[in-house]
Amino acid sequence: MMKRTIEPFWWSLFGAGGTLAALFIPITLFINGLAIPLGWLAAPDYENVLQMARHPLARTYLFLLISLSFYHWAHRFRFTLYDGLQLKHLNLLIAVICYGGATVGTVAAAYTLINL
């Protein structure tokens, strides 16, 4: 059996995260980070938001969006350091920091969403 490289795995997380982020992050950021704080939109009621976020579908969506966004960053940033700063010799260290960071973020997201 041929298992030559693990890159396809990282790349698939990168791609899935990039797609979810491209679709959902701009509007989410706009609503929560700008429109509501600036009063352009009324802040939704606390209980409502909580109920909505607790829905199993919402939890799944939030988990995937957040976790995969982290892996998207990990993969891109790894290559940016690698090529952009020519840190080839630190290849392993960079990979551990990037994917490791995304994994820590994923665990944190899972913990937060389960306990919501």
Binding site: G17, G18, A22, P26, F77, G84
Partner: protein, 138 residues
């Protein structure tokens, strides 16, 4: 040897221009590429902020209220403003490149790249409208 040719008995003095460390500042197209890659920092950065907001949500109304106040600070507003530009740049470049990875076939003919990109942008608009609607009515 030939994978990285330096010297052979016949060509003792090839000239190899070294790639400067900051090769991507020399040309706009390369700077643009690095900029595109750096959008990932803002994507993950916002995912983290969002996660913190959800954590505050889980900790009760007071904690959530404090978090919302934090979001109103001028620093937060300006950071979100800058981030919005970058995450939009991520979306635009991402959807523009989608046809490179996707080759769809309909009735034996390849779907033109423009159509694939167009569908992506339509999905973006649709999803954004849906999320906005959920927030307004929810």
């Amino acid at each position: 040897m030939s994978a990285n040719p330096q010297h052979t008995p016949y060509h003792p003095r090839w000239y190899r221009a070294p790639m400067p460390i900051f090769w991507w500042v020399r040309r706009w197209i390369h700077a643009r590429f690095i900029l595109r890659e750096l959008t990932s920092i803002f994507v993950a950065g916002y995912a983290l902020v969002y996660l913190l907001q959800l954590r505050a949500l889980g900790m009760g109304p007071e904690a959530y209220g404090r978090f919302l106040e934090l979001l109103q600070s001028p620093l937060s507003i300006s950071l979100h403003g800058i981030s919005l530009v970058f995450v939009m740049y991520h979306s635009i470049t991402w959807f523009n490149l989608a046809p490179r990875a996707l080759s769809l076939r309909l009735g034996g003919r390849r779907v033109p790249d423009k159509v694939i990109a167009g569908l992506n942008f339509a999905a973006w608009a649709g999803m954004s409208a849906a999320l906005l609607w959920v927030t307004l009515t929810g």
